[in-house]
Symmetry: C2
Subunit: 246 residues, 2 copies
């Protein structure tokens, strides 16, 4: 047996369902609290992400206070204004951009700021000596675990990236050595869209899997002999997901 | 119902099993090929990660060529040497560090270099205008999807971070605008350890979940009134995972 350690069919289905039906939720939050045990499971999933040198360099700041959220929302509005101005030369896109709902800071049940602390277990962190950014990558992996666990629990997550990190640092009282990585809004939702909002609304298309795979070197999109049979597997995946509408 | 969209019990179990039993695999690879459909599913899971502005800024360079791997291994050995020298003042840790097996570049079935292309669908990428690093974070989320899907399929993954990015760029023929994010080794394994290697071998301890959660502000480890009941949920999670030995 080569796959002695594979999960069962239903278990695999669960993982793939979480991955393919996960959405970045900005609207559709409903006013209903996340039970303590559910939120704790979601955070524990995040805490079990991989981390370079087992450094576990993350913190999760849980925010329910409305005054804190209001300040974060103000940062969003300022940054959104700056962002809109960047599209002054493309009025069509600017109009489309302005019509999008991009955050659920006030109406979600809880906000979670996921942060990076490079001093955790340092200064020598095994495996971080050549590529320092691997510390930050670990935190992003924790965000993805959180997102998938939330989806499995029926909880929506939206990542608000239109913010100034300096504002977050001030609002949350962060020391200079730590850094905000993700500002997330969590809550139950009225629906999970069948496709990502930005795909559904025609902002950008989903790329085919075959367009993002290279063989042996950068830019080699055509498989050499040793990989030729593999490409039919790739095309089959594109078909499956197109039929699933996700 | 507040959790109409939650996965079923067996499906949830699958997601959590993948998350909690995922390991960074450096040894234990066995000489057995990953079937095309399995590898394609794993890569498609990665391709369905969240990405800022739906920019899908990743590429997956698949590497089987042994000459390419040999060059990557040489980069690892150089960087490992540099890293070892950093511990000259701490001979105990240096000895422990030198005894660790930290990569499976040559003996895994396939290597995958996951890269970031900031020009994809650019220059205006929705949501990346305030915090440019969100593009790179998207790619790290794709790595985590890949890792979890591989675990579900019974395939081990090791992230080799002791490499020089400049070496990878040369070896893989990358253009200056793109950047390697993760160099991964994939293959079937003789075992998945019950705990992360670095925990099992006493390099560092697993932190309790309660140690990485803050309430409302950075550094507030004691929950205010509105959060007091939540902390028992957090402690229960620590217990569950300790009993599971993961």
């Amino acid at each position: 047996m080569t796959d002695d350690y594979a999960l069962t069919g239903a278990q695999k289905e669960g993982l793939y369902k979480a991955i393919f039906s996960r959405r970045d939720v900005r609207s559709h939050f409903i006013p209903k609290s996340i039970p303590n045990d559910v939120l704790a499971r979601i955070l524990n999933a995040a805490h079990h992400a991989p981390s370079v040198g087992f450094s576990q360099p993350w913190n999760f700041i849980l925010i329910r206070d409305s005054e804190t959220r209001r300040k974060v929302k103000e940062s969003f509005l300022r940054e959104q204004g700056r962002s809109t101005a960047l599209l002054d030369g493309d009025k069509d896109r600017q109009k489309k951009y302005s019509s999008l709902k991009l955050e659920g800071i006030m109406e979600s049940d809880v906000n979670v700021c996921v942060t990076y602390d490079p001093t955790r277990f340092g200064p020598f962190v095994l495996g971080r000596t050549s590529i320092e950014e691997t510390g930050v990558y670990s935190v992003a992996c924790a965000v993805q675990n959180l997102w998938l666990a939330a989806r499995a629990e029926g909880v929506g997550v939206g990542w608000v990236s239109i913010l100034a990190n300096s504002d977050l640092e001030n609002i949350l009282g962060m020391p200079t050595h730590a850094k905000p990585i993700a500002y997330l809004c969590l809550g139950y939702v009225a629906e999970f869209s069948d496709k990502p909002d930005l795909e559904r609304l025609g902002w950008l298309p989903r790329m085919a899997l075959s367009e993002v795979i290279c063989y042996e070197k950068w830019g080699e999109l055509e498989p050499p002999g040793s990989w030729s049979e593999f490409q039919s597997g790739v095309k089959a995946q594109d078909e499956v997901r197109r039929e699933d509408n996700i």
